[in-house]
């Protein structure tokens, strides 16, 4: 491995760390407050394409360290998104079977992506009727596989496994601290499993308790893939409210419009979750620009736009106009 010439022995050497961080890129044209440096942390530069590589790699490493993975004994995980993709690619490359439990309502392209990565799919009817208070059906089925056939399946369980938060405490947090020379004053992220906000927030607050940790959430009924509102957090038990200074709610629709602004004005190919986080950061920072002058902010951009083109078209219908001769 030679990081200077960027020559690696295998794809796993690209996984992020303090010495090999994902890039920070300054926001220029859309800078929300004069004299405040806001940086986007480009998590789509991770080897398997999103912020979820961090949690997924820690989850696999931990299962490996416990001797729970082999050619016969693989993983089962309820996931339709980036964690599943990341787990599936890594599992395939390492020779472990991977079974992804996905709700039927998940779009075909996402199911196909998991299969492209080598996962076996278990598609279930998840949403026949609202059943408040219960865990999602796909979580229950994944747990069932792991409990009924422990010799075949281990369940990483991103929603409960503290390896998820540890990944961010040991990589994302130290990377940001080093990249900003310890000058960071504001950290912006969203909520999915809460791993990012809790792990990174814990590290940064330990370094400097005055750093503001700000969570940006979509409103109820949103359609932003991978994100949860605080009310939807019942599915994870990793969230620690004490670490959070402020929760900013942004209309889910703006995730898509703002992402397009980032693409067109900054050259950042932001996906909807990145758009939402930036929108939240912009609101907080432009509220009282004098109060944040001289500060340094980092907004975590989870993923780029490519997997979400269908969602963009749905929410920004003019994207489909003038596309035929």
């Amino acid at each position: 491995m030679d990081r200077d010439t960027r020559v690696y022995d295998d794809i796993f050497q690209l996984l992020p760390s303090e010495e090999n961080p994902t890039p920070l890129v300054r926001i220029n044209a859309l800078a929300p407050a004069a004299g405040f440096d806001l940086f986007a942390k480009l998590e789509w530069m991770n080897p398997f394409g999103s912020v979820k590589d961090r949690a997924a790699s820690f989850l696999i490493r931990s299962l490996e360290a416990q001797g729970k993975l082999s050619g016969e004994r693989g993983m089962v995980e309820p996931t339709s998104g980036n964690t599943g993709l990341s787990l599936a690619v890594m599992a395939s490359a390492k020779g472990y079977p991977m079974r992804a439990v996905v709700p039927d309502k998940v779009p075909l392209t996402k199911k196909a992506l998991l299969k492209m990565a080598g996962a076996e799919l278990d598609v279930i009817n998840d949403n026949l009727c609202p059943a408040p208070g219960l865990g999602e059906g796909s979580i229950a089925i994944a747990k069932t596989h792991a409990k009924a056939q422990p010799d075949r399946y281990a369940m990483p369980n991103q929603y409960e496994n503290t390896e998820n938060t540890r990944a961010h405490e040991e990589t994302t947090g130290p990377e940001i601290w080093r990249q900003t020379g310890g000058k960071i004053t504001h950290f912006f992220a969203s909520l999915g499993t809460a791993g990012t906000i809790v792990g990174t927030g814990r590290y940064l607050k330990r370094k400097n308790p005055d750093i503001k940790v700000i969570v940006v959430v979509p409103d109820e009924g949103h359609d932003v893939p991978g994100l949860r509102t605080p009310a939807e957090l019942a599915t994870t038990n990793l969230f620690e409210e004490d670490l959070v200074d402020e929760i900013v709610e942004v209309e889910g629709e703006l995730a898509f419009r703002t992402a397009l602004e980032l693409i067109r004005k900054e050259g950042l190919l932001a996906g909807p979750s990145s758009g939402l986080i930036f929108e939240g950061a912009r609101r907080v920072l432009s509220r009282d620009p004098d109060a944040v002058r001289g500060g340094v902010g980092v907004a975590l951009f989870c993923d780029d736009a490519f997997k979400y083109v269908d969602s963009f078209i749905k929410h920004v219908p003019e994207l489909a106009e003038d596309t035929a001769p």
């Binding site: 309502k105 998840d126 949403n127 026949l128 609202p130 089925i141 409990k147």
Partner: protein, 294 residues
């Protein structure tokens, strides 16, 4: 605090674990997600598929007596056995099976409180993928007890007379007519709304977050005080296709002890498609559980 009207119809997960090897205890899993049983089930249980095994495959109807006898006998269950039902989604379809067992006169039927989710969440409760060996038995059912079932003719008379409690257990949006059915459902009706005079009590109001039933006092507060169910009147529960309402039927009849409770299994897909029957929309004339519990 008072207890349920019938305490013997509910068993705990611990009780099931202690008795799962007893020859006269028959565990039956019925899930909304028909793949759940195959993914893992309680050792010794049988799994019934609600779509292909618990309803007539030609007419829109419950299983005939003969088909019920074939299914239950084939599962190695005898009339004198204790049947313990459990399933996903708070025992939703397990309750439908409970109703069928009672309709055909099975004496000792019980429900595992909390269903498969509670069993799954408890570390000491085993699951297996091993098929359960079955020894078919001759099962003779009783004639269907039609006092447990309401037909559309009964419901129309009730609407006219106003002498029953009608409990609509669908979601609020289905009740008000905002949607005809939950998104993605193929069994649907021609019109949205509810049967005139019905109270809206979504079925999951009866359970706690761990899937077990709420206490008798809480249930009384929800159905009697909140929704205005009059314990002195006969009651009919309905939903979209008759399964969710079995769950409420179980609560009202067995946990709260109402004498006369029927499940209208034709439910909204039938009523909401009939020509010329009265329908109400919105909440204006309906008693709902929500204001009282808010």
């Amino acid at each position: 605090m008072t207890d349920y009207a019938n305490t013997d119809v509910l068993v705990t997960t611990d009780w099931v674990k202690q008795h799962m090897d007893d020859a006269s205890i028959k565990l039956v899993e019925v899930d909304v997600d028909t793949k759940a049983y195959d993914a893992g089930h309680i050792p010794g249980s049988v799994g019934f598929n609600w779509e292909t095994e618990l309803q007539d495959q030609v007419s829109r109807d419950i299983l005939s007596k003969e088909d019920f006898e074939r299914l239950i006998g084939g599962a190695g269950i005898a009339p004198g056995d204790t049947v313990v039902l459990y399933g996903d989604h708070n025992n939703w379809f397990a309750a439908y099976a409970f109703w069928l067992f009672k309709l055909y006169g099975h004496e000792d039927v019980r429900m595992m409180n909390g269903g498969r989710q509670k069993w799954l969440d408890e570390d000491d409760k085993p699951l297996t993928v091993d098929p359960t060996p079955l020894t078919p038995k001759a099962y003779e059912a009783k004639d269907a007890d039609l006092s447990l079932r309401a037909r559309v003719m009964d419901v129309l008379k009730i609407v006219e007379a106003g002498d029953h409690n009608l409990v609509d257990v669908r979601s609020t949006d289905e009740f008000t007519g905002k949607v005809i059915a939950p998104p993605g459902m193929s069994e649907t009706a021609q019109r949205g709304g509810h049967i005139p005079g019905a109270a809206s009590v979504p079925w999951a109001s009866a359970v706690q977050s761990d899937g077990t039933f709420k206490s008798a006092d809480d249930l009384r507060a929800i159905y009697f005080d909140g929704a205005g169910v009059d314990a002195g009147k006969p009651t009919v529960a309905y939903c979209r296709i008759g399964e969710r309402s079995s769950h409420t039927w179980f609560v009202l009849k067995y946990l709260l002890g109402l004498e006369n409770v029927r499940n209208y299994d034709g439910s909204w897909t039938e009523y909401g498609s009939m020509v010329g029957v009265p329908i109400e929309r919105g909440t204006a004339h309906a008693r709902t559980a929500e204001p009282a519990t808010a």
